[in-house]
Assembly symmetry: C2
Homo-oligomer: 241 residues x 2
């Protein structure tokens, strides 16, 4: 399982992913689920992945291959595509093809494989945009009304986002919100696990503004998690029914 | 969809259910999902239901029929069964049979129906016990380590329970906890809806100690919900990362 979340705010975009991958309970590994492609100052594209590792790895590998192909065109490379919508289409089509390929291989075993992605980015002169790409390659987009997108184990961490995230939320508060959202998910689902990857893309920077890996023993994360538990318990104590 | 939750505490048991039933988004109705059977002072059994209404209604109807049958025996009536474990077995078997019947009817349409139940109760001289009955009729039981059971849309409301519910939680705090757990669920899933049914069974009373329907406009519930939102936002504001 996985939990990835992206916020699209007036000041920029904030992305967070976990890194736990499991094939059964006895086969657990760490794989990053956040991939960043930049032409700094010109264009930035970040991809978060959830679902079958064979689908997501192959999709990312093909996206990279197409990008580095000397014959890459506006139709095939996410660094050349004229708009972020085109970027989402290229990645969506890639995902759909890979999924169909792998599904065909698995069909003999009556199994299937699936994956979904969050694609966030901005090109110079364009708007920041963020998409959730479904396994079939179609997608939806974050908007002012719904300024966040989640993939994977999304339910435990949604109430906090519903309550505090708005387009005008600051980037500092946004980082706090996604980390607390992840904290609730980590507590409730063992198949979501540390370390975490956190990235911030400031508006119009067209590059990754900051990126950080938060390891299992991270003191700041633990302190924040404990402070939030205390705040919840104190809030609970003060409420009268 | 549905959300029902039961807490098994040292001082007693607290049960909460919503009432929304839907067959598609354009067919929404109110049905109670909490059923109480008492021989006051001797025995109390409460059943919470989630899943296909045709399965749960038929199961409850057959449980009642068996109870009122003049030939009812210890093997068939939940008011005569010697232990709460036997009560859970009777209800579990009933649920499994009804589900199989209805599944057979639906198989021609390539559809299936399913349901799960929480069964909580105590007989004079016995312990309070609480079971989660799966669609197949097998069950698990609440324990000291895991003093709560949930059916239906359980994820949104689990983080608060994980943080505040312990066997030594008071019945007043327990009611607050289940109502806040429901509040998070109501906010995030439209197919869970007011009014709510809340019941408390005090230890060794062997009867329903209090029972309350909370209607959509309930002032206390709204005040509690707003106080909780405020507490969360204030807690959020105070945390530094």
């Amino acid at each position: 399982m996985t939990y990835c979340v992206g916020l699209l705010l007036n000041e920029g975009m904030v992305l967070l992913s976990d890194t736990r991958t499991n094939a059964g309970f006895d086969n657990i590994a760490i794989y990053k689920k956040m991939f960043v492609f930049e032409d700094p100052g010109e264009r930035v594209v970040a991809i978060l992945t959830a679902g079958s590792l064979s689908v997501t790895q192959t999709t990312i590998a093909r996206v990279k291959e197409a990008m580095h192909d000397p014959d890459a065109t506006e139709e095939t490379s996410i660094l050349k595509a004229p708009t972020m919508l085109n970027v989402a289409e290229i990645i969506g089509n890639m995902l759909a093809r890979v999924r169909l390929d792998i599904d065909e291989k698995l069909s003999a075993m009556k199994q299937s494989a699936s994956a979904s992605l969050i694609v966030a980015g901005q090109r110079k002169g364009g708007e920041m945009r963020m998409f959730l790409i479904y396994p079939e390659g179609n997608f939806i987009e974050a908007t002012e009304d719904t300024p966040f997108l989640q993939i994977g184990e999304h339910k435990y961490g949604k109430p906090i986002l519903d309550r505090v995230v708005k387009p005008e939320t600051s980037l500092a508060d946004a980082q706090k919100a996604v980390l607390l959202s992840m904290d609730s998910t980590l507590r409730s689902n063992l198949s979501v696990g540390m370390p975490l990857d956190l990235a911030v893309i400031e508006r119009d920077a067209c590059r990754i503004s900051s990126r950080r890996r938060i390891e299992a023993g991270d003191d700041n994360f633990r302190a924040m998690s404990e402070a939030w538990s205390r705040a919840l318990r104190e809030g609970f104590t003060q409420i009268r029914i």
